[in-house]
Symmetry: C2
Subunit: 388 residues, 2 copies
């Protein structure tokens, strides 16, 4: 690809993220945040590795209310962590089932426990605890007096709004995703097993410049599909099938997440109509996605079109979400989410509906919120259901 | 690839896994196990989707001490879960930050809580809690009387020993990995940026039949590398570089995990010697990996060769591990692990050493333990450092 942005981020960016977090920590009375998850460790340190695929070793980052973050990590990651902006890197020879970082954490946090301080951890929606639960309990038992508060709100507020450098990466991977979808008629045809089409898609995405394709799901069936999270089947496509492919490809640790629908051979009328409704629901979303609108209002703008054909709530729970270092991030475009949309948010518009005989259709685009409104990062889907 | 095994497993296999777990649960006095992680939900149900890439929604499987497992999952997964052997599938419209499955779990577990029963969860080494920590705390607060014990030992004992069908899948993906490594001289050359070489590797692995390449890390540097978990750099390879690529490719949800070392243009004497020591350490491991041997003894068999050149413990913490649905699984080939090796275990032999000026070298093969000893699943690496 031309116009490939630089990899990584400047130290200034990490310092700014940390300072923003620290202002919020101070406001919430926290002495620091203890982070265990890949996206958060990378967000504040720049530590970027696929080694997180291995569940064996826990990794910790402590962001104090003042000063640089402190890494408490397995020794195998020390060389890579030393390339980041961090100065204080504490390591142990892992795995060590008897003491996988717990002594180092206890040493770090004991002074805070002794003063009855509070620290934040991620306990809220869309978070997990990436360390053994037993180790977490042992850590707390060894630190009587330490309060653990929920820091989800702090991290959510920071990560929801993307920097210019983050948007550049997201734009780049969306361009790669669009170029890959544009090649679909070149690499698949009627009679090709779906499994082979998916494999060809992955190869094409890599050729177009993606680093990886961690997510590729879809649906396919005669006159429509009824499931959107399955691996591809070995069945060969046949005329009258409707096929959807939804990809999360990555570049430098940032995701695109959008889909495309196709009819094989010919498209039935009902599927064409469903497609048209979703396409127009997305248009309504593109207009509504502006600074100051709430996620609920954006959800309702898309719903008001979807009801033309489907007045049920649907099974997917929402009509879009945040996008960034993870395939899906806060906020949710849903009735429950009153987050106010801000400049720099990167979102998916993902209207879906049920139709016909328990068929489901999903359509998805990626956008960034600018001062003047939504800007597409994905190349807009065709207004009518394309036929291969 | 020819000889591609069937995808998925028979219902008999899931029933057998469940029955084995239930015997152990009964022995430990547990009324059931509550599972939150991808590998465990898939192991007992067959539910297989990349949708776990999205951190937004929790997924739960309860394995009672009698009867089939019960799924408590987001509605978006219902169609796929109904294709498994499970009968009892309870869903909610997710995401729902106010109640992401907690009411359904409370309803299921309340009768157990009222009798003061114990259930198991994964709290031990190499496990995580894949649900919001705050939701976990709320769940427990709503179930006074319920005891949560650590079920890691139960799941570990089951998953460590692979069935014939699992070994078939692992053998297949190792064959694909071997065929991909064999093509390296065809798709890379001196002067090619490492990033491009890695991209070409992924494309080749897909061409050879891999479903995905979730893990591909490596190292490269003049006269050796000093880091084994980094993403590839944009630097072009040059004569005298030593390059290592370590891949975890998947087929039907099972991983291979092995690496290969190459010299670009020519190989320096020190790197050739390091390679020779690691190759012979692996030979020692192949001989020692037998039914009845402990992981510690297998570790020591490899260490006894490595000390020829490196008498330090090294940074990586162990010299191999289990392999299966995850890139790294129990057990560890390490001084701390006295697990007795059994027929049907699939392991990596992964000796590593430090040499020269803070250089590091790692070598890795995949094996299955048969009654008569170790059988290679990966095609054995060349006895001398290959030069490209």
């Amino acid at each position: 690809m031309n116009n490939t942005p630089p990899r990584g981020f400047t130290e200034i960016e990490f310092a700014a993220r940390t300072a923003r977090a620290q202002r919020r920590m101070a406001g919430q009375g926290l002495s620091g945040m203890l982070l265990t998850t890949e996206a958060e460790v990378r967000y504040f340190s720049g530590f970027h590795t696929l080694f997180w695929q291995s569940p064996t070793r826990p990794w910790f980052l402590f962001v104090p209310v003042e000063g640089k973050p402190i890494a408490i990590i397995p020794e195998i990651g020390a060389a890579l962590m030393r390339q980041t902006w961090l100065d204080d890197i504490r390591t142990w020879s892992a795995p060590n089932p008897q003491d996988d970082g717990i002594s180092l954490l206890t040493e770090l946090l004991s002074p805070l426990a002794q003063t009855g301080a509070s620290i934040g951890m991620l306990k809220g929606h869309e978070t997990t605890l990436r360390m053994p639960l037993g180790d977490y309990e042992r850590l707390l038992n060894g630190l009587p007096g330490l309060r653990i508060d929920d820091a989800t709100g702090i991290v959510r507020a920071l990560r929801m709004t993307k920097s210019a450098a983050e948007i550049e990466k997201l734009s780049h991977i969306c361009t790669i995703g669009s170029a890959t979808f544009a090649q679909i008629p070149e690499f698949t045809h009627e009679g090709m097993p779906f499994e082979e089409t998916f494999r060809a898609f992955r190869r094409e995405a890599l050729l177009q410049g993606a680093d990886d394709v961690p997510y590729l799901v879809g649906g396919a069936g005669p006159g429509g599909y009824d499931d959107v999270i399955s691996p591809p089947s070995g069945r060969s496509s046949q005329s009258g099938d409707v096929m959807m492919m939804d990809t999360g490809a990555t570049w430098d640790g940032y995701f695109c997440d959008f889909d495309r629908n196709f009819a094989i051979g010919h498209a039935d009328d009902l599927s064409r109509r469903a497609y048209d409704v979703l396409w127009r629901a997305t248009e309504a979303g593109l207009v509504a996605a502006r600074v100051g609108t709430t996620c609920r209002e954006l959800f309702q703008a898309m719903r008001s079109v979807i009801v033309e054909i489907d007045d049920q709530g649907g099974d997917v729970g929402r009509l879009g979400h945040g996008l960034g270092m993870q395939l899906t991030e806060w906020p949710s475009l849903a009735d429950f989410d009153d987050t106010v949309i801000e400049e720099g948010m990167v979102l998916t518009l993902e209207p879906s509906l049920s139709y016909g005989n328990a068929r489901l259709m999903v359509h998805e685009e990626n956008i960034v919120i600018r001062a003047g409104g939504a800007e597409l990062l994905s190349r807009r889907a065709a207004p009518e259901l394309p036929v291969i």
